[in-house]
Symmetry: none
DNA sequence: AATGAATGAGAATTCATTCAT
DNA sequence: TATGAATGAATTCTCATTCAT
């Protein structure tokens, strides 16, 4: 139970796509209302303001984003590398599923003025980094991983590479002659490639071989 | 000779910072005029419109961005890996120097509607990818590099990691307790770390050891 | 029997206070609903519109306002001056009890466009003036009062002085260092002062000594 | 020199009339723009907002209102009663000339929320009361005036009577069959009547005969 | 070349009211 | 009888741009 009505979700998802592609300021509430197929005044009615709609969206998606990974991390039978692979796939999967929301987050992270979303983003990043740090430390203790791993930069590579690919997929498609592929095929293609790429990258950096 | 007067550059650089941090639509021409310390009407007067100011900015910075690398790539005395290292440092250096402009480019790449900047970005990406491709191929021919290198994804890692770090440096600082550092110190710190990180990443992925 | 349900009165009294202090246009039906603790739609439901609510309020209060004085005026044992004093006290009392309503009337009287309230106000003023005129004439006939009394201006002094004090009591309090007094104490204080003031004024103007 | 351009004054005077007759909230900036014959956006352009336009109006008129009386009060040849008459005429004259502005002030004084105008009104009232107090005291010292004069209530009578007449002149006209008179004639008529009325009132209350 | 003044278009939001239940 | 949801119209204000000088 998210606490949002069907119509509210309809509005948030319309806003999500528009915010992702046109930016918050580039999107008018008219655009959102039209895209969502609701009356213009409903947006203020339901969310109070455009700003608060954005906050609601963050809460709505943020809720979904956080409580992942934990049970996998506690699994005693997986090797640390397997767990890292799990993190990679899970992260990638999540971004792929919430592409629009991640574009919005990317945009927000660039802003100089700290809005209501800043704190949420900070906490999300903190939590993610801690989980991965924990995982790497575990691998190091077990002797699986090298010493001297720079976790923050490793995170930057995971997040940056994935994010870059997602936000520039249109260019990627054109640059690599994949325009014939349907959206689904392309997503499948890119997921596989990216997964392999990141795994080989992480393996090379983390392990002794 | 860039063809831009001092005042025009003043305006473009003010716009650059604002566009980077607040987005194109989040920045008003009034903001720009104020930041640049020029009369409001000057912007339309000099550039025609806000849109065209953006295009001028791309031309102004794009001009600077492209004509790099070539002579280094033709150097016969450097190993391929050294050249790759050169590319990494040169790219990183460039992004660091033009952080604002790169933020703008990141934002633009997310947009769905293809503006006047789209073509420029596409060509830039194409050229970069070709140069690196060429370099990798050379390394492979020389037996320095492994076969089966996925250049587009490697580019995504280079660009994505660097870009992510630049655009989220504020979070990085806070997350890693580096807030005491001055901007300069931090930049130096991050450059070194990132350079090492990317080089070890590329080395691990490209070479046989 | 006024013909209004408890809930309707609740709404009208909430509206009365808000209209008095914020003006008709400065008060939203939402404000009224909230203040009255009723559902927003109830107001249209019960009164038809905000405008009609105002009219109902005028009817509700107007009803109460008019049917005063008459029996006192017919009293054969009071002197004319005593009757004038009675009018002063009765008028003052009424305004004090219906301060909010009188603020609303003051506001309405300034309006250029003649609303539904205009006629009611006109009739009220007419009736009042006639009654006082009658009373003065009686006093003149009896030789108690001077000739050449300008009744309309005398009314203006009665109404104007009282009204001014009521509508600006906040300033009066501050200007005369009475802020320590409770609302009740202040009302008592002001009533007494004003009664004395008006009576001495009227006595001086009306009588031969 | 008021510091306001011709166009700004044009706007303020249009606003003044509308605010007086329809109230601040009952007047839209559209109304003002239309009445003033200027473009809608000019109002924000010149004054920032509707609220600030109101403040400017208060400053514009307040400026004119205050610096009166003083030299008359210092005149050694006039009797105190003559000076009081002077105050009455001067006050009345002022209100008659700035009828609209005084309506606005009357409205503002009823408001519960203290806006930017509150302080100005308070100071104006304070100054006025002090000047009159001073004048009465002088008359008392000279033995011209009675002891035990309630100055604040006397002020209420001056201000209230005049104000009431001004704000309800339309009713006064109709009630006293003066509708045939032109505006100018009526103003002349009312001025004379009111002046006489107030003077006789004050004389009766202040002096020993 | 440069600018203060001006403007039409469009922004977000609030409003009184109505409707379906 | 009563109400949560919905809406068209109108609100204030900001915007990028242009014009007269």
């Amino acid at each position: 139970m998210t606490g949002y009505s069907e119509k509210q979700i309809q509005i948030m998802e319309a806003a999500e796509e528009l915010f992702a592609n046109k930016g918050f300021d580039g999107t008018s509430v008219r655009d959102i209302a039209e895209e969502a197929g609701v009356n213009l005044a409903m947006i203020s009615y339901y969310f109070g303001s455009k700003e608060k709609l954005m906050e609601s969206l963050f809460q709505y998606r943020g809720h979904y984003i956080t409580l992942q990974l934990e049970n996998m991390l506690q699994n005693k039978e997986m090797s640390s590398l397997q767990k890292v692979y799990g993190v990679i796939d899970s992260y990638m999967e999540r971004i792929m599923k919430l592409q629009c929301f991640h574009k919005i987050m990317s945009r927000e992270q660039m802003a100089d003025v700290k809005g209501a979303t800043t704190k949420l983003i900070h906490e999300l990043k903190k939590k993610n980094q801690e989980l991965v740090q924990q995982l790497i430390s575990e691998g190091q203790k077990k002797g699986e991983f090298k010493k001297n791993i720079d976790v923050p930069l490793l995170m930057a590579t995971l997040i940056g590479t994935t994010g870059h690919l997602v936000t520039t997929q249109h260019y990627y498609k054109k640059l690599n002659n994949l325009e014939a592929l349907s959206d689904e095929e392309f997503e499948k293609h890119i997921k596989k490639k990216l997964s392999n790429h990141l795994k080989s990258l992480f393996k090379a950096v983390l392990t002794y071989e």
